[in-house]
Homo-oligomer: 466 residues x 2
């Protein structure tokens, strides 16, 4: 049933966020090849980041909720199956198998909002090989992006030392899903909220919004724009004051305040969006204070990143909050993480890869984290089943395709991230690259397995070359 | 009507690619404020890029098709209206107005695949002010991303000098929509296709795919993996040969070739994904040629960008094609463009903004491009209506909410982009920053309008300070 006000046709014909077709063609090719070779035993794949970018001292894991939802809802619908048939790439038996397919595997993962480092498994999928393989692309796509953004956002949160941060980045985010998920990742990291409207109905994230320059430009006089806005939107009056002359506009705000107060409207803040923000903020603070508007907050936006925030905080610049766009939602200093989803076990046997510069750790793994006096001091990557000192980071999430427990709410994830930051060693907290890496070592069991497989492989190689 | 195999509930509850709620809250606040102030006269907004990144000599416009589709289909559905009501932010009269809303405005734009430069309007929306304003966020979101990626991809196309390029970037693209639209933007720029499966059903883009390392790792012997794959997927046999030892794997390919040939299977190519690609390619080429496999192509992936491609081409490295992921779909050297969607006219009067470093050009504009001997030599940004020498770049796209003509097909857009590249001056074609910028000047009419408004504003400012 459809009616004009409820279009059901997705924008792209397919629900591109849900469809299991949102994958690389090689996943489908391998699916078919595994079936034909009868290789359907259970496999484990692990998602991890190979190396940290030079400008990241740690990462904040995020995106698990969307992966779980994807695994719970991923199925091929009639339209997708029709396309698979029409494409002529797969035999009817495979299309029928895909038609009946539901995810029935296991997932273990590090909780969202947890600090993680290079080579530490963040998520493990255990399922029949063709399926665990097939899921690779979208699992990476979902985990990579939110982890990337949460790891960028948390740097700004640390730099801001309590000042309010709001995500303004939808317009330059890479598409709609990036905008929505960036809002979520930033909120996990400690942002107060976002300007992206659907983040409220979809995730319950607080949304904020003021006015654009065009609102001022559309009016003949700047003060008329302020008056019109304040009267229409008295809930949270923030005036954008840099359209023409920032200090002149601040004086107009002072002049308007008594008139608005008489109408019962309180001016909440002013926003600066261009020029030397620190210098303008100091001058505007003086104008507002001298005008009796000491309560009016100064917000800044436009080209903000963690380094600028840290400098402002160090210099005592009177900016109370920041709207952060591009540098947050595109992670503009490093727009991707060197991550992978790799086969670590098949049919009960550990697997690894030796490609130059891309070697992987074999076997199903667990990460143990040791704390001293409430601060993280060392991680050990161990084999699953090996027991080490410290707290294990990976937890069971799905068994047989179902959640083993309710995942934490977004508020709980955010609180967990805040606790993680409190446990972070001081040398990782600053925006500058840390001189030393956080210590992550391999357990004796994992080190022995690596050595054993290296030796086995070398022997096989010598055999092959004879 | 729903059935188990056709879920109709969108992944995020809302179709985030279609919903007009995919915007910043300030757009809704301004919508309300404009209504309350009675400011509903016609406005024109223009989308443009303020400055080119230092690592881009020109841009390739892309994303218009999605903007038009968005404008044609954007309406608030029952669920979205319910949320607007529940949010308590807007009076019922506004919600009802939004319920009835359809885009009925005009759009003028530069055709997709056209070369553009800083400050040149790429798209203009003309509609009642509250509506033209409201559309800002998603229009920027769609035009920015595809223009960003097409402008990155075209650099690779120029560097590759005819070698085959395929998009491998879905996994590290920023979400599903970014992956899908990056495939489209890269195809416009001249890529042969993509690994992203839905790009075929949604856009008709050729999709390519081979095998992953895990496929090799899952087998006990590398040669068994090759055999299984070739038999299951004989259409386009490409072996990934760097899982353990690249040259040893190349020799295995030579050894397997006669056996596969006897089964009627031709080996199409081998893929390198790690180490020194140039060095491996030379050695592998020698092994394949000596083994009688001169026809087998060498493909490379992993950390590819336009600079590496240019170096390979200059050095005659025997790589026939590249799979390009992260650097393409995240535009990793510059992950955003400094773009804006600015009010240029309201109620028949030109508007502008003077913010430091962010001043805008007033009035509805047109761009004229002059060619000499088939090459671009100069652009002039003029007022709409001013007639200049050269070819006008903006064309009517929508009038009264409807397309004025069928937009070119994706194949036509791609052909147009190829013609544009042929017209590009030599000094802009190399991956290095050009010493000189391409000449873009203002027409006499536009320059006079800027001067007039500056003068008017200065007079008003003096007045305001009295």
């Amino acid at each position: 049933m459809t009616d004009a006000s409820s279009p059901t046709e997705p924008f792209y014909g397919f629900d591109i966020c849900r469809t299991p077709l949102m994958t690389d063609l090689y996943e489908l090719n391998m699916y078919e090849a595994y079936l034909e070779a009868g290789m359907t035993a259970v496999a484990s794949f692990e998602f991890f980041v190979r190396t940290l970018p030079p400008c990241r001292n740690f990462l904040l894991a995020a995106g698990l909720e969307q992966v779980v939802r994807y695994l719970e809802t991923a199925r091929f619908d009639a339209r997708e199956l029709a396309w698979l048939r029409e494409s002529g790439r797969f035999p009817e038996s495979t299309v029928e198998r895909l038609a009946a397919w539901r995810f029935t595997g296991d997932v273990d993962a590090v909780p969202e909002g947890t600090v993680v480092f290079a080579n530490e498994p963040i998520l493990r999928v255990t399922a029949p090989l063709p399926v665990a393989q097939f899921l690779e692309t979208r699992i990476i796509n979902l985990l990579h992006f939110q982890t990337l953004i949460a790891s960028k956002a948390v740097r700004m949160v640390l730099a801001a030392a309590g000042r309010t941060l709001v995500d303004f980045g939808l317009r330059r985010a890479h598409g709609a899903e990036a905008g929505l998920l960036a809002a979520r990742a930033a909120y996990i990291a400690g942002f107060a909220g976002t300007a992206t409207v659907p983040a409220e109905p979809v995730f319950g994230i607080p949304v904020f919004g003021t006015m654009a320059h065009s609102f001022v430009q559309a009016h003949e006089r700047e003060e008329d724009a302020f008056l019109d806005f304040a009267r229409a939107r008295p809930q949270a009056v923030v005036f954008l004051i840099d359209t023409y002359d920032t200090e002149a506009a601040a004086r107009k705000v002072v002049a308007l305040a008594p008139r608005l107060a008489a109408e019962g409207i309180r001016i909440h803040g002013v926003r600066l969006d261009s020029g030397d923000l620190a210098e303008h903020a100091r001058r505007v603070r003086r104008i507002l204070d001298e005008g009796g508007l000491g309560e009016v907050r100064i917000l800044a936006s436009g080209g903000i990143d963690e380094h600028l925030i840290a400098r402002h905080v160090a210099e005592g610049v009177p900016i109370d909050g920041y709207g952060i766009g591009t540098s947050l939602t595109t992670s503009n200093d490093w727009a991707s993480l060197d991550c992978a989803y790799k086969l670590v076990e098949y049919d009960g046997r550990p697997r690894f890869k030796r490609s130059e510069g891309k070697a992987t750790l074999p076997g199903r793994k667990q990460v143990y984290r040791r704390l001293e006096e409430g601060r993280m001091v060392e991680d050990v990557i161990a084999l699953d089943g090996e027991t080490m000192a410290g707290e294990p980071l990976l937890r069971p999430v799905m068994r047989g395709g179902r959640r083993v427990a309710v995942l934490p709410s977004l508020e709980e994830v955010r609180a967990h991230a805040a606790r993680e930051l409190a446990r972070l060693p001081d040398f990782l907290r600053r925006p500058e690259p840390a001189r030393d890496a956080y210590p992550v070592r391999l357990s004796p069991g994992l080190a022995a397995l690596v050595a054993e497989l290296e030796e086995e492989h070398a022997a096989a190689g010598r055999g092959a070359r004879r």
